[in-house]
């Protein structure tokens, strides 16, 4: 399903303060500029291996983070940079993990797909498609067991939603009434396979229905719509009614990873969405047309973000390579047997 064209006139709901809108603008812009920089560093050979950029999908995490409260958890797949930045993790630490340096969140052991933060309740970054989904339910189980009123956002993509363990998890989460929001980020392509070529029923928000889990489809290019849906889902979970499915319709502008020849879609398709549906442009228009910010205000934000991203890039280049001994640490609690 192609992302629907947004024909609505931009409008600002009276309960959205200008500051809040600016915050979303800033957060989405940070992700975009960070990812653009990561793409550059990759091209320069400073980032090796896999690198999955989040460009185009920024409104999803920013909208949902706006619906989260302190202590709520998040866990996602390998396209995880946006989630980390939106949860407040340090761009320096994220970028330095991409370059595989000591200053990275996982000291260079995880790479692009595997980063974590206890402080920000971010449970990773998981490189196996769909494998994070039962873990997200387990986190929610622990919350329920501790009766702490927290909710876990468990993100996965349209591709992962065809994994068997996702259905196992839906069943268990509903059976045990776990406070988990299943967020399906539908960017319409499982790597190079379009949804129509991989998925028998395109309405992924109905996937929870056989298990009694309510779901809805959300315009993922509209941060306010995402936030509103997120708040509804979170309220449902927090009230003890069990899990909730959000299918968030989004689009990634870049390839699946850095080595994607992009033969599976036309340049026009990408260009059309960039021009007509861009989530950052959408908020920018809201800000300007609503006279909540001037061009100068936004330029100042742009400048500030550029600085943050440049600093992250510098940090990620300057941070030293991990010491060789680190190869053998964090395997077991005790020292691992070294047979090198």
């Amino acid at each position: 399903m192609a992302a629907r064209k947004n024909t609505k006139k931009p409008n600002i709901k009276p309960n959205i303060a200008a500051d809040e809108l600016k915050k979303y603008y800033r957060e989405m812009l940070l992700i975009r500029r960070f990812e653009e920089k990561a793409g550059q560093l990759y091209g320069m050979g400073l980032i090796g291996g896999f690198c999955h950029l989040y460009i185009g999908q920024e409104a999803v995490v920013v909208g949902l983070e706006a619906a989260a409260e302190e202590g709520d958890k998040r866990i996602t797949s390998y396209r995880d940079h946006g989630h980390m930045l939106a949860s407040g993790m340090d761009p320096n630490g994220v970028m330095a993990e991409l370059t595989g340096r000591e200053g990275g969140y996982s000291k260079g052991k995880g790479g692009s797909m595997h980063m974590f933060s206890r402080e920000k309740h971010f449970y990773g970054g998981h490189g196996i498609v769909g494998a994070q989904v039962p873990i997200g339910a387990g986190l929610a189980f622990a919350d329920r067991y501790k009766e702490n009123g927290r909710v876990t956002f468990t993100y996965f993509g349209d591709g992962a939603s065809n994994q068997g363990q996702v259905f196992e998890t839906f069943n268990m989460a509903s059976l045990w009434q776990l406070p988990v929001v299943f967020v399906i980020e539908n960017n319409q392509y499982a790597m190079g396979t379009s949804q129509s070529r991989s998925t028998s029923t395109p309405e992924l928000y109905t996937r929870g229905k056989p298990f009694g889990i309510p779901g809805e489809q959300v315009d993922g290019m509209d941060v306010l719509a995402v936030k509103e849906a997120g708040e509804k889902a979170v309220a449902h979970c927090r009230s003890g009614k069990g899990p909730y499915v959000l299918e968030i319709m989004t689009y990634r502008y870049r390839g699946h990873s850095m080595s994607d020849p992009a033969k599976y879609r036309t340049r026009e398709e990408v260009q059309k969405i960039r021009e007509e549906r861009d989530p950052i442009e959408h908020v920018r228009t809201l800000l300007l047309e609503g006279k909540h910010a001037s061009e100068e205000d936004l330029k100042a934000i742009d400048k500030e973000i550029k600085q943050v991203v440049n600093d992250a890039a510098e940090f990620s280049k300057d941070s030293p390579e991990p010491a060789l001994e680190e190869l053998w640490t964090d395997i077991y609690a005790e020292a691992a047997p070294q047979n090198a």
Binding site: R118, A131, F141, Y145, T169, M172, Y332
Partner: protein
């Protein structure tokens, strides 16, 4: 000190662990209301409630996956795979997630889970209820693998496994659950209660992981075994009259390499036995380590006695099973080499 079967000892370990730490929760297929297909968790739901001991759908990947999430957020899940043979759908979670969480997060998050599973044959279970997949776990950095051979060890090692800060695969030889078995399948089953090894320490008495146990001292040849095969090896020694030294490894990772090398350097000969298929089995690792550490002490090539490289058969179970005669033959050959 109470005398227990292996099932009773495992149940007792759960009971003790759950009583002393409310982070310990126990779940799996038929584990709660029914008390486990082999009864290893019987009575726990009644005693500790449905929030701490409960049934799951038949979803092995979901069981282990949720356990990992619980562990990452401070609980101590101890889950059961109904048979080790049912583990394969969960292997993704065990290998890619449980074993790697500590490393990939540089120690930010850990995964203290125990995955228990009945292993091995001897009950005519055929190819999907008899396998011994230990080598699939020892091959994975980040996992610990435990195989007890008697009630006393089963309790102590399970308590240690639940305490352990890392994921532990706990393989329970199902043929030993309710009685002793030395591979002489045509003889009547001997009750555990007749063995000193059924004397189980009361209360909280963990046995540290990584320490092997000498089961029989001998001068002629070292026999390395674990699980059911410890008893089969002892029977082979008795049948052959060869003065074998039998080491029960108890944990495969971490491995008690010190006890192994001390013994082989003394005897100069070594036979490795396991029930799993031969090729790429854990025995291959043991043989490699023994020749590396003890080469100049060896009087004969190290031999392996294992299951054949076939699916675990049904009707021909006892042709597959490496019983006392096969081990005795290997002992003889090693002595004559």
């Amino acid at each position: 000190m109470a005398r227990m079967t292996m099932v009773e000892a495992i149940r007792d370990a759960h009971d003790v662990a759950m009583a002393r730490d409310d982070r310990v929760i126990v779940f799996g297929e038929d584990v709660g209301y029914f008390g486990g297909v082999f009864r290893c968790t019987a009575g726990l739901q009644k005693k500790y409630g449905k929030s701490r001991c409960f049934d799951t759908p038949i979803s092995e990947s979901g069981i282990v996956g949720t356990a990992i999430g619980m562990a990452a957020y401070g609980l101590r899940p101890c889950v059961e795979m109904q048979f080790a043979d049912y583990m394969y759908p969960a292997y993704d979670q065990i290998v890619s997630e449980a074993a790697r969480l500590r490393y990939r997060s540089a120690g930010e998050f850990t995964c203290p889970i125990v995955v228990r599973m009945p292993t091995g044959g001897g009950i005519f279970g055929g190819q999907t209820h008899s396998q011994s997949p230990e080598a699939l776990f020892t091959h994975v950095a980040g996992l610990k693998t435990v195989v007890p051979s008697n009630p006393r060890d089963a309790k102590g090692l399970l308590l240690a496994a639940i305490d352990d800060p890392d994921p532990v695969i706990f393989l329970e030889p199902k043929r030993l659950y309710n009685g002793q078995f030395d591979g002489h399948y045509d003889k009547p089953i001997v009750s555990w209660k007749k063995s000193e090894l059924s004397e189980v320490d009361e209360g909280y008495a963990p046995i540290p992981l990584g320490r092997a146990k000498l089961r029989r001292e001998g001068r002629d040849v070292t026999i390395l075994a674990y699980g059911t095969m410890v008893h089969v090896a002892l029977a082979a020694v008795a049948d052959s009259g060869i003065d074998g030294e039998v080491i029960d490894l108890r944990t495969l990772m971490p491995l008690d390499i010190d006890m192994i090398t001390a013994s082989v350097r003394k005897t100069g000969r070594c036979v490795v036995v396991h029930e799993a298929t031969l090729t790429s089995g854990f025995g291959a690792e043991l043989v490699a380590l023994v020749q590396q550490e003890c080469f100049w002490h060896l009087e004969a090539p190290v031999a392996r006695v294992a299951g054949w490289d076939t699916p675990y058969p049904h009707a021909q179970e006892w042709h597959y099973f490496p019983g006392p005669p096969r081990i005795a033959k290997a002992l003889q050959a090693v002595m004559e080499a």
